[in-house]
Symmetry: C5
Subunit: 354 residues, 5 copies
């Protein structure tokens, strides 16, 4: 479930740069994978210890170290020392409640954003923080949990499809960003379908459950928006940035991701408008139904109250009530009651209540 | 119908620049038309294969190649190679869920925007993505479906009306943009009429159906806004831009289109204000009607409940009830009941309920 | 009445610069008046044909040509040729749905804005497009209909009051703008009075008609805002502009008009806040009234339902009902009923319903 | 009372710079006071005629001329001539509906803002326009009515308290601005108290009167906001301005006033949020009360309707109704009715309605 | 409790720079503590008189003077003289209603912000103004009350943990800011939990009390927002500022605090969205419940009103009513009534009311 705040209290009072993992532990065990390639060579393997990957550091090939699971703080510390990562960056990686941002530390770029996972069985959305560190010839990626949206990227590297093997680490970083943003569309597509179903329902037969669903959607939207909105600035910053690690050809591609991000934001805003419009419609529908319930009540009461009153009159036990003695009194009064009923119904017809 | 999101999932995981048509196939078959002209000459013909148009590329005449239908990806690929179009542009042309934008690729300008079609029988609005590529002496236009708003432009070229044959490709691009934006006014006009009819209805006799119509209008407005809003920036960018393909005289005309775009945006905002105002009025009207229903109920109940009670009293079977024996008891009690009724009615009159 | 959109469809598909009058024909017949003056001389006369005014073009005196009625397109065309007006400007003059704007065409400034007419008998507001063309020694003004707010300006020129005869054409243009903006205050004043009356009504005794009036006011506000809001930019642009036709002393006066425009915008925003606040109050008032209606119903029902039930019990025909035989049974039960009624009333008193 | 618009119509059509007092006449008679001081000397006296103060113009001492009452236009004209004030400034001083603004006329600075008076007996807020003209060695202040918030300033000058006598005219102008802005806090304080009382009331026992009070507060807030909001720009402009009359040490103090203005704006925004939140709470509370009224009605009806029906059955006069003959039929049916009533009550208990 | 405005009226009319403590006296007695350190030495002691700390002024060690309690104005005056603090700064320190701000006075930086205290037993939030003055080698901190969030900072200095003892006064100031902002997360965490509990409640079983809680939360949010929002600018200003007291390495850390501040603001906005969404849901839920109450009433009335009427008919005392004589009349009518009831119920079933 989407929770508004991670527990940060366990870090309260520690000096800055102290490495503590904030957030639930999502991965069973830490998994480190290394993919090392250039146009000619390719190597992919899981690592037992973090030290194994240090040899790749000074080679000209592109090295992608992917770490799933953040609970073993020492591993990050070792990696950080090897690649010269600032303690505050490591702290941010561990603190899984970051706002998407990009920071240029000269030696490397630090990018943090959120990856969505819509594969939940209950239809909910899972969100996971992904940190990328882009250096001259390496990309380090940190994920909270196992499983990601990078499989197609790995496949393209393995099979040397497209231009990925011909390009540098910056293109790899772009590809990872692109995979994450492309995945947003899948989530939005599903959301769009939910919204359409809901819209239909809200106008035709709204139930109290509908209200709960609208509320839930609204909430998901709030979180999605919080996750995606700052991304615009992040990717725009990468595209316009001065960093030597981001080459001009890759920037053309980044503009594409930037456009996608704006499209995602646009869609979220559209959805928000639609969902908040739905709540208005819901309220109006409920009012309409109340109106129609009240009309039924009023019609029934307005017809039967006078009739019951008339019957009540002739149920009185006065000694002298001439009508009671009449031969056709009973039938006359039945006829009269019938007439009153017809009159009432035609009145309601005129008022368009029937 | 307007759907919040196109299906992008079929593209998930493919490398950037892979050409896949995203969106429903709207055109039965691909149609390529070429119009080639300068002040003296004019030639217009449908093409069987895309290769036929390559001969026009190096002639000084203005060439307009119009492609309707995007499902044959190879045709675009061939055309792209011939005119040197970047793969990402081709990808954007095929991905029919673009936000209006303008990109300067040096060799050419890429403009994407949405064309509206209000000729639907059910009164709905169809929206179609139009991509324009403006080079030094050519304009390529890509439409999702057959049928467009460019007939008057074609007619003007054919009959050499106005200054279109005297001007270059930039003026042609302007004319196409102008035709699309002018068409927005037609859509808005029709919308304005719908809104006026609705406004009348909402105040005088709102029904639950009215709610559905308001909701539908609101939705159309959201989509219209999404389609038009970024256009302001696009055309403003063209007008202020540095591109050598856009000559100064044409820029004066572009300012005119820019003004129109702002007028369209203004009108949409006005409509939005009006429609959301209508929902408030609707809710208030429904409350008013509930109020008047409840008043009828209350009046009926307040008159007949006490009367029925009185009748009930004299319907009791107590041995000793002196009134029952009176000669005029029955008529006295009828008179009394009549008095109670009159009193109640005058009470409601005083309270302004009648 | 204020309509959201003018009919533009009759212009659909024509080349840009084609002169077609868009909007209803408001003036019975075209009226051309010329006022020509400098500090010493003054001449004012109506013209039969547009050609008569061409002689004034090259004289150093200030020439003000005022045209009321836009349906004779040829007249504008002739005038345009004589003064060298760009076809797009003439098109804008004829298209009476312009957003207020100012454009510097080098030879002249083109200003378009809306003149309000609050003199309608039914209290409605009429709006009319006024176009001004300011050249070095002339002002051309185009109005849709006869009748305007410039009478005081004419009077000042005729009687040589104030500094108008001593100044150039720019001061004349300023004076016309000032007259139009000053007139806005009259409209706002009347609106303010309407709002105050309405506010009183909404809190004390709201009726469904009040809702209609609020809705109408809201609508007028939307249109007023649309007409005035861009004016800020227009006059600010004139004041800060580089045009040689606008002299420094006149710019000091323009700052005054600018302040007035901001005051008008401020007031409109205040009115908007007040009117939308009123709708909330209206809804709350209606809810309150529903509440009080329901209380009456509930009080009546809660008192008489139990009493009627008691009477019903002693109306049953059981053979063996001991109370019926009692000497004072009837009076005892009347007393008991009276007690129940009193108890109920005191219960409602305690609950503050009475 | 706060009125949305001053009557400007009496000025309609007059040439700019014509002096007419717009607004109600608030002061009984015109009062001119002069205070002239430097570090060593001090002189304060009321003036009979405006001419008496002209002698101070060319002295190096700081001269403060305070004019209360604006209805004698000639006095202003004379003063304006003497100090070289532009006619448009005089016009603005007389037109008591100005938006707060600051204008630099080279020779002097013209500042106009609103002074609030919360000393009304009925708790309302009075607002008065104050114009300040700051020259090299003089400050002219113009008030609509007698009575102001400057008494403490006068006292400080008289008793040579603080640094006011050591500083120039700019410091005097600052002190006056400071006194006006400080007074806003008093008004806000009182408003804050009103709001707290109201908040308590809205949640615990809202009445229709509460609605009126909320509405009134909202309105006061709209006007307060309109009066204070532009002040930020005015004082910011003074602080950052280039005017030689505003010395650097005084600018440090102006920054303090600027901070206060922002605090005032902040508080008004907070109050607005609180008041508009209250309206939501009010509406919800009213709905809650309606709910509880309806529950009472429903409980009563649901209990007594079935019971009355049962009593009605045994009140029928059929010849053959076996139960009527039973010895304990009456008591059995009473018991049964009692059971039905208990059942209903327990049903409502279960539904949490009781 | 959070009050919208501090009492400023006691300061009304005093010259600027006059020191008066505005706000309630929160501390029992004034407490001055001094911590003086460099990498090698460390000294911490409470001070009896303010004069004792003057000796530290000219030493190269970092001096942190912390003052809790602001009611003894003379102490501040003495300290201000010693460290050369501008009277307006001292005034701001004493006036405990400041908006967070940062001012560069050349000799020192003045920072004011709000410290939150969530340790209240009743779950409320206390807010306290903290002023920091950062000079080349000293930090002065002023708090309204005893108790703060700086204990971990003191501990780090005492035990020489982290890099604090190696850095200058700017790092100390950063650490204090960091401690305050970190504490905001604790408050937000608790708020987030409250909101989640409330959300659950609002959808499942809303009560009038829920309304009060929502209102209370909304109010807390308004105040929190007011306290935190300007902090963004403050810390951003410190980070980008030119002040020589803020060294480059410390600025890297400030960027971290800046990110945290934005995260806090983001969370507050998210919470605001959630809480205001809840109010909508609450209103809808209440409407739903009203609907279901009304349905019960309508069902009961619609079933029993006709039945009672039928019973009333046969309770009439007409001489000639053939049915009454029938052998099975009673049972037939019972059966008929039963049929009517069943019909009504099935009607409601069809309408989905049951």
């Amino acid at each position: 479930m989407l929770r508004p705040m991670k527990k940060r209290s366990k870090k309260d009072g520690l000096p800055p740069g102290t490495l503590v993992h904030i957030g639930e532990r999502k991965a069973e065990e830490l998994k480190i994978t290394i993919i090392d390639y250039d146009e000619a060579h390719f190597q992919e393997r899981p690592l037992g210890t973090i030290e194994e990957c240090f040899v790749f550091k000074d080679q000209p090939t592109v090295t992608w170290i992917n770490i799933e699971g953040l609970h073993e703080v020492q591993v990050l510390e070792r990696l950080g020392e090897c690649y010269g990562i600032h303690p505050l960056v490591l702290e941010d990686i561990l603190n899984t409640d970051q706002r998407p941002k990009m920071e240029d530390y000269g030696e490397y770029l630090y990018i943090v954003l959120r990856m969505l996972d819509g594969s939940q069985k209950n239809g909910g959305i899972n969100t996971e923080q992904v940190s990328l560190i882009l250096g001259s010839n390496f990309v380090l990626s940190f994920q909270e949990a196992g499983g990601d949206v990078f499989d197609s990227v790995r496949e393209r590297i393995r099979s040397n499809k497209g231009r990925i093997r011909k390009m540098g680490a910056d293109y790899l970083a772009y590809t990872l960003l692109d995979a994450i943003v492309d995945n947003y569309f899948i989530i939005l597509e599903r959301m769009g379908e939910k919204i359409e179903v809901l819209e239909e329902k809200v106008v035709t037969h709204p139930t109290p459950e509908t209200l709960g669903v609208i509320h839930h959607l609204k909430r998901e939207m709030i979180f999605l928006r919080k996750a995606v909105w700052p991304l615009r600035e992040v990717i725009g910053g990468l595209e316009r940035g001065e960093s030597p690690f981001m080459s001009q050809p890759t920037k053309v591609y980044l503009r594409d991701v930037y456009d996608h991000t704006i499209q995602v934001i646009d869609s979220i805003e559209t959805f928000r408008d639609m969902v908040s419009g739905m709540l208005d419609i819901y309220l109006s529908s409920v009012s309409n139904r109340l109106n129609s319930v009240m009309k039924v009540l009023t019609i029934i009461a307005t017809i039967f109250m006078p009739l019951t009153f008339i019957a009540g009159i002739y149920g009185m036990n006065f000694k002298y009530m001439p009508e009671l003695e009449w031969r056709w009194g009973y039938f006359a009064i039945l006829l009269f009651m019938f007439g009153v009923g017809i009159f009432m119904l035609s009145y309601f017809k005129k008022r368009k209540w029937l």
